[in-house]
Symmetry: C2
Subunit: 232 residues, 2 copies
DNA sequence: CGACGCTCGTGCGCACATTCACAAAGTCGT
DNA sequence: ACGACTTTGTGAATGTGCGCACGAGCGTCG
């Protein structure tokens, strides 16, 4: 309805925050809250209130001036925008340490991403059961993807095997990949990849620690945020 | 040495990419490559070559014009900048599904982040051994953090327990937190938090899928990037 | 029923990030 | 030893995102 909005491109930064808002709106809704102002949401999400309003304005004008946002309606609208009005089956490639944790996690089904299959190339892992799903051989991937209309794949293999896994996923028809391996995957245009790398995260943190230490050691008492101070 | 550089603030976006460069430089180095141009690195990291050069220029001028970058030296410099010239002990709070996977992962030690301790509040988990580390009760956290000079903590608890875990970590003296729970942690200024949320990642992907479907369905044949076209 | 108070939606300027394009500086061949 | 070629490092231009500040609209209360 109201084909007024929709198709307005939503900035990446906003797309990354919508799930966070959604999460906390759901949480407040469960607690019986029916209305929240942008100020309230901002506090809960630890961001600026204006940012919240701007973010929400991209998906439509669902607030009421002088009052705030109806939590339930907002949850509905954000869900719709994120494509959560139906389930998205996912396949997990790699039944090792991480793959098993993901499969057993259970959070997939709860959040609307049922696991359509887990796959591994290692014969000793095939046919074991993880989180209620029987691991299949990687060669069976195309069949499952086609039959169950899977469009999201999770790569949970060692780094060496990740590119092959991605290639197979793409060939099978998957168009979004969540990659947990420490590699930059190369995929054709039109396929979305998001990489989550534990090592990268830790290194970003240690960079900040490193700076703290350097600052404390007083390696030149330069304020952390000197405003200007670029000399020629 | 050379107090020329250092203390030049490195942009966040760059800090997030340096670990990626480091990863792939290490990989090429292992393969026997001794020199790489910004073009080469760019191709491997799937980014623009100018971006690579600018990123690297923030940590110093370590390239040779007409030649490129000496891989080994660059690895050394990036490592130093990220604070990888020594080890950073980490503690893991939460020995459930995810905590166990992380503990057993082994990648921590390899990458220079030895696990100084795993903690849980559940008595049935305490004293079990995960990845060579015996799980301790959460009350023992402060002692371990103090004794082992831990400054990085990993939150791998259910969402409900995450804020408490973070509070305890901060009180114990941890100044960087890697959070795997689906909550926005509230921490005092000066503490760095990075949240990795499976649900958020999946929802970002399904947003893109959603758009693809909408585009394909031809919900109004508006090109994906119509330049203007806003009619009053 | 009108005035007041609250909160949304957004235009605008600023800061940050990305990319282009080119001079500077090195190598290599002759 | 010099000139052609390559590749860096960076100023300038463009694009993206953020946050203030304020007008617009809704509800409430006298």
């Amino acid at each position: 309805m109201s084909p007024q909005h929709r198709r307005r491109r939503i900035p990446d930064a906003t797309v990354a925050r919508l799930p966070v808002y959604l999460q906390l709106l759901n949480e407040r809704m469960a607690a019986g809250v029916t209305n929240l102002s942008s100020e309230d949401i901002a506090a809960l999400a630890a961001v600026n209130a204006a940012k919240v309003r701007k973010d929400l304005s991209y998906i439509g004008t669902y607030g009421t001036r002088g009052v705030g946002y109806d939590v339930e309606y907002l949850v509905y609208q954000i869900s719709r925008e994120l494509g959560l009005d139906h389930e998205w089956s996912v396949v997990i490639v790699g039944a090792g340490n991480l793959g098993q944790a993901l499969g057993g996690y259970g959070g997939f089904n709860v959040r609307g991403y049922p696991v359509a299959g887990m796959f591994d190339i290692d014969e000793t892992k095939v046919d074991t059961v993880v989180g209620g799903v029987r691991v299949k051989h990687l060669d069976d991937l195309p069949k499952v993807v086609a039959q169950q209309q899977v469009s999201i794949g999770v790569v949970a293999t060692p780094a060496e095997a990740a590119q092959d896994a991605a290639d197979r996923l793409v060939r099978a028809g998957v168009t979004s990949i969540l990659n947990f391996a420490s590699v930059v995957l190369s995929v054709p245009l039109g396929v979305t990849v998001r990489t989550v790398d534990l090592g990268v995260e830790l290194q970003i943190l240690s960079y900040h620690e490193q700076r703290r230490v350097a600052a404390a050691t007083g390696l030149r008492p330069v304020a952390d945020e000197a405003p200007s101070g670029r000399s020629a």
